[in-house]
Amino acid sequence: MADGVKPRVKVPKTASAGEKIVIKTLISHKMESGQRKDGDGNLIPRSIINRFTCDFNGENVVDVVLEPAISTNPYLEFEAVVPESGEFKFTWYDDDGSVYEETKEIAVE
């Protein structure tokens, strides 16, 4: 099911130390809720992203548990502090066991 899954993340390229920055993430995923039926009346099995985490230099920023009630192409927006230059690591966990990762560098001026 890993086809067409594409993470997109928006992080500023630079920040001042300790500054509050806004991070926006979106991953293209159909988030099949397990409630819908196909043309023959059979339930379409659930297939969603069930967890998302964001870490900065190994320290956690946010850890989100997602349920079927999250819309298609799950979008998340949150705020982080950057104490030093480093790398944000974003991880999405799929129901089918796939893990999608994305990293973004940020420089502290």
Partner: protein, 138 residues
Amino acid sequence: MQLTRRDAILMGVGATFMTALPLHVSAAGEDAIAAFTGGADVGQGDIKLTAPEIAENGNTVPIEVSSETATEIMVLALGNPTPAVATFKYGPLSASRTASTRIRLAGTQDVVAIAKLEDGSFVQATSTVKVTIGGCGG
């Protein structure tokens, strides 16, 4: 065994409890709340839930939660087939206890955000969203 009048009354009271109890607990939303709070009282206070009053399309309803001192925030849509929506846990590098996302709502219903605060207490905020087209594909 002899059935006295007193026994009969006690049995009647017991039967009433037995039937009333499952009805009360069967609401999946309350189960989810109890699982999150561990049965603790949920008060009002430091939690804000921003949701539209009217959502034309229940498939994607933007919501935002914010709090000053929360360590975890759980969002529930009480009218959905599965009430849980998302749980946000904030780590040491989160700048604020806020998050926005987009959710599915099956119909007009209450959306609830419950926050676990730093002192271990729980607070909740509720917002009613009117949904024109449901988002669960029924």
